[in-house]
Symmetry: D2
Subunit: 314 residues, 4 copies
């Protein structure tokens, strides 16, 4: 069964409405300031790009301005890790919401070094360890970068080395979680190498157009509908979407499902990738974050978009 865009929907008009309605909110929220490169970003930026399964792309605002994708990268790293080790991945990381206002190192201790899901930091570090596979971290970083370039059909995508270095310099909590998981035997590669791969992955820079294009395989049953290439099996694409739905927004995942009704993954750089299954891949970007660390205006824009298009899966 496929869900095609309602022919009555004029996507360009809807996007224009959404953007206009966001005007009053632009600039709200708090730009991430734990590293200089993020804190310098103009809080008034707002971009959106939608690529539909039939190949149409609609954009608005700063859709072609690059930003740091940060945790949005976790969805793609999860895809790569699942392709490498298959369902065996789930013996090392769960797929349940973290569901705690408290930071996940508590959960790691209660659950003996097994992170709750691959979309929170410790889970993504395990995923990076799987991709690293005890080899040179440069190979792992290249693998992730190449995956994104291929999926976005754009070889210009780069890693922001200043961001990567800043992440490493300030990443004491991530380092703590990596050593903690190692003490439980749930990290194989050297901590330094695993974190290097992880920090570089978070420092990838993309724009909304590239990001929406890159996520399209998740909206179309695992096949890139434009190139025709099968990226993952249909079952795997659906399951990745399921994990995004229940775990993609940290401890506000339930809230995002409630308001937007679509699988999505946010990053602290203000980007959100959102999947309308069988219909479209959506990327929004606005740097101001809400209290739980997700893009404030981006979340509002997606809620409104889902209302106007009727794309909610519920």
């Amino acid at each position: 069964m496929s869900r095609k865009p309602n022919p009555d929907i004029n996507l360009s008009e809807i996007v224009a409405v959404v953007r206009q309605e966001m005007e009053e909110h632009i600039g709200k929220g708090k730009v991430a300031n734990y590293i200089p490169a993020l804190s310098r970003v103009d809080p008034r930026k707002f971009g959106i790009a939608i690529t539909t399964c039939d190949g149409q792309t609609v954009t608005s605002g700063d859709a072609e301005e690059p930003f740091s994708i940060q945790s949005v990268s976790k969805v793609f790293a999860l895809t790569i890790a699942l392709e490498r080790v298959g369902e065996a991945l789930w013996s090392r990381v769960g797929r349940e919401p973290s569901g705690s206002a408290f930071n996940s190192i508590i959960q790691l201790e209660h659950e003996h070094g097994i992170p709750r899901n691959p979309l929170i930091n410790p889970g993504a570090i395990v995923v990076a360890d799987v991709i690293l596979n005890e080899r040179d971290p440069k190979l792992a970083i290249t693998k992730i970068l190449e995956f994104l370039r291929t999926r976005a059909d754009d070889s210009s995508i780069q890693i922001d080395m200043e961001v990567a270095q800043s992440e490493a310099d300030t990443g004491h909590r991530n380092t703590a979680m990596a050593y903690f998981m190692r003490s439980f035997g749930n990290l194989n590669g050297p901590v330094y190498d695993v974190l290097s791969a992880y920090f570089h992955q978070c420092a990838i820079t993309m724009n909304c157009v590239q990001l929406a294009r890159a996520g399209l395989y998740l909206a179309s049953s695992g096949t890139d509908p434009i190139s025709g290439e099968r990226v993952v099996s249909e079952a795997r694409a659906r399951r990745i979407n399921a994990v995004m739905m229940t775990c993609g927004h940290y401890d506000a995942s339930g809230d995002f499902a409630f308001h937007v009704g679509l699988p999505g993954k946010s990053g602290v750089g203000g980007g959100i990738l959102c999947i309308a299954p069988q219909t479209a891949s959506i990327a929004v970007w606005s740097p101001g974050l809400n209290a739980v660390g997700n893009s404030l205006v981006g979340s509002l824009a997606l809620e409104r978009l889902a209302q106007l298009t009727g794309w909610s899966v519920f």
Copy 2:
């Protein structure tokens, strides 16, 4: 946009296949034994009923044998409470997954008496308090029972008074949670009355046909497609489904979304209500529970059904 059953799908055939495949699993799992009435249930029972949005009903197995719906009732109680107080409900109960292998009284303390969501026990007790509205608990119980009779279009639905009494006799932990929330000011009615309403609600007896029929408004945008009656707004129906998706299976909600890809709510009596939005309402029943307290065979049957029908929302 509507998602209608694929015309290629012969639902009766699919249900027959699912039932046959479940044969090898029938009897697995552990029947709830904390009260006598539940422990006496034959572990080899299996029933399934599907009611589609266009009014077709397909059943198999013990679909007309009554069972204790237990926590499945929480979805209907949530509906009633939302109709009574609207979105104000969310100031007294969250909508995030509980996400903890540990029992929720810990979360209640950390989060000052606000339960994580309305589908875990303390959240459902708050919902019962809202429905009770400080009046006679019999009125609250009648309200819930009448709602289910109307939705299932079957006035024969009853409360099993032996189950209700047993719940009250053994419900020390629920009583503890009720008093604990009261200590934070998040319970208005007398604890005894609120729990009485809650325990009776859990003791409602239905069969799969009644349950699937009763949930149909959630599959069709809030309107009962058979009677044409609007039960809740479209937005509310979607949001209830979203809460079921992220919170409907306790600390295995992520797992259910991963495997089945549909909003659902399980009960310790072995029943699961599952919604395929715009398509169908499904009820399965098999008393043996898996390690996390959800129907073992019921979960497998729904996973297989979703695969064969392609009804996953992802």
Copy 3:
């Protein structure tokens, strides 16, 4: 080996010095206000009484004004329960500090209904259950009251019935903990009866002179040095003191040991019983509480007293 007061010490002079030094602090802290009877107490009250093992009594301030002993009663209830069931008590309650800024219901869940120690609320409720022994709560209350009258050699000691009723009316959190322990099978008597005994025990009214006199058996190896009566064995007296040292001031027990260096037990009414082993029993009272719920001026007075007398056990 005995530790007798240093002959150079003039206890009356020291007490006069302590009282004078406290003048600048009198009135500091926050009087308990969760029940009316406590909130009405004048925050400027300060009393102290010391009874030495050789029968001398020194007092100052409001030493003969009655106050609600509240949790100080837990030491005497522990004594009674140990005499009733002996060391078997420790299978139902631990003797480790609770050590958490978070309320102990979290600990109860982690440790399956076994409270950390008998001097925190859930532990004292288990102790009350042991004393109750499934009989009439009036018998339990009488037993505790008679013990205190005998130990203080003063039959005028009473229960403040207004306080007892207020405790019952507002004790939702204690009720929650009682039901929670019952759900783990760690409460034998009816919850209502156990709590009734507990709330009445907390509502006992004594003055500093009575309280210091009542605790004297703990300062003199389990024997009342004035009447010559053996109350508990020497080993038991020492062990009760040990529990007071490590657990007597909730999550500030380490701090009290650090500053005062003597076993003690505080109550929310502003009283503290403090034992100088082989030397003296001390009672102070000042209603203003510090941030952790112990008498602010009382703690300071005991610290200064220990410095001037050299009574610290360390």
Copy 4:
């Protein structure tokens, strides 16, 4: 006021009795096996040494055989850190029992990187950071070693470099805690340097005679009664003893106080330093550990010694 040994006590006889009574227990418990050097130790070893405040030394068993003092070193490091920064230390580390069966990284998160006390691992890492003072870790290690050599009046005391290296190789959990505290700003020196100092401190090798001698200043009001040297003020000595009493045996500190009634600090190498204030410093060693990680036979020996001498502070 001083507490001198009861003249009736013949310490040599008592020690002989204790040792004989321990015969039936020798070999019980589980020798630490997380590093090879510890796992190789003969579980049947038992040594005891007592040095009294008047300079008498009594020994029995393997009292002159060196062992790894491990966490016993934390008492001496605490002394050095307090001398360096005074009471300001307490802004970076608490003095309350950890009071949790769960590992302390949970507490670190709840309490924002401030360890509960200086005698648990994260607290001792903060203490090492204070001693390190952002300088060469070799200076910190030398400072601790020299302190122990001076206190034990024995310049032959060494660090076991194999143990130090093994600690570093397996110390992922300690490394995690160090990075975690750094993320809260509660670690000034480089993590590698702080841990190097900490791991070397734990790898110091001493025998019972040396250890009892080294701890004597804590038994005699801060002054070494043999050399006459003041090591710390009387108030500080008492306070260190208080911290040992409430926090010296991890989550069995209450139990140790209950059974032994003296301040003490255990190490995973099987050693325990125990202080009888104004009376004696005691060191026992027996490698087999009980379920909570303290020397099984050592604890029993101290309990019996305290009974026979009457040295309990309670």
